[in-house]
């Protein structure tokens, strides 16, 4: 059945689903941000989303973790190891400190810009490698 403008209504959705599952299934976009205020953690966010298109670049040395159900839970469970892996690459540090009449407040933001990772789940392990 054709729609009014001549396109098949489910064609684009089906194509996107097929391409997404075949091409971008093992590639994820991961970003991290940590905000501390006065030496206390105020906010910490880890963004994980599947990549909708293939990533370009070279594979960096991988990190192997014991896998959980999803990538998010795997990263949460092995947070220290993943932090150390991110630390090998680059982190953006921004620190603002304000002192008014000798009363000081500070705000530090640690950001790992969103980057593409290749993730492979195999035999109970997850292999994560940055594509750069």
């Amino acid at each position: 059945m054709r729609s009014r403008n001549g396109d098949h209504p489910l064609l684009h959705f089906g194509c996107a689903l097929v391409l997404g599952t075949t091409l971008g299934a093992d590639e994820y976009l991961i970003g991290y941000r940590l905000i501390t205020q006065n030496a206390t953690v105020a906010q910490e966010r880890l963004h994980v989303t599947p990549a909708m298109q293939p990533c370009q670049g070279l594979l960096q040395p991988p990190l192997t973790l014991s896998a959980s159900d999803t990538l998010s839970t795997t990263l949460q469970r092995h947070r220290d190891a993943f932090d150390a892996y991110l630390r090998q690459h680059f982190l953006h540090v921004q620190h603002l400190e304000r002192s008014v009449n000798h009363t000081t407040s500070s705000l530090t933001t640690l950001t790992f810009p969103t980057a593409c990772f290749e993730v492979e789940f195999k035999a109970g392990f997850a292999t994560i490698a940055l594509i750069k």
Partner: protein
């Protein structure tokens, strides 16, 4: 054909003798001599060897600059405090460690990239009404490692280390 070849050989020998480095004066510091020997041992492919780092760092009075044979090691200790709303000691430790890592990164960034300082003082009738100082640090840090972590009475201290080498900056 034999005599010109011999003459050229002698000339080259004299030229090499004339280009030989002279002995350093006694007034020069020993540090300079050690640095010169370090440069001689440095390989041509700009690879920084670990023993070179140790040798060069023990020299006193050297300028703190980055050269192909001289690496700079920076050690900082960041401090972090757990929030008051944690539900367990483990969570408190984890949160305090996060804050300490961020503080250590801030200190490294201050050492490497510097601090932007801006101050405003509002004075009225010769009396300071408001004094405000703002500082800002902005940097990209790579390859920093955690050397040691300690947690005591709600305060977490993280010792972080970074080695600045010529190759890591250039490449």
């Amino acid at each position: 054909m034999r005599y010109p070849t011999l003459a050229m050989t002698f000339l080259a020998g004299f030229a090499l003798i004339g280009c030989a480095p002279t002995q350093p004066q006694q007034s020069e510091q020993n540090a300079t001599m050690v640095l010169t020997s370090a440069y001689d041992r440095c390989s041509g492919d700009m690879q920084i060897k670990p023993y070179m780092i140790e040798n060069v760092e023990t020299i006193r009075g050297l300028p703190n600059q980055l050269t192909p044979c001289h690496s700079i090691r920076i050690n900082v200790v960041g401090q972090g405090v757990a929030p008051t709303t944690t539900i367990s000691p483990a969570q408190a430790f984890a949160m305090a460690k996060r804050a300490a890592v961020a503080d250590a990164y801030r200190m490294i960034a201050e050492r490497i990239a510097g601090v932007h300082v801006e101050g405003h003082d509002f004075i009225k009738n010769m009396v300071v009404q408001r004094s405000e100082v703002r500082t800002k640090v902005d940097a990209l840090i790579r390859n920093a490692t955690i050397a040691e972590t300690s947690y005591k009475e709600g305060l977490c201290e993280v010792e972080m280390e970074i080695i600045l080498s010529y190759t890591s900056v250039v490449l």
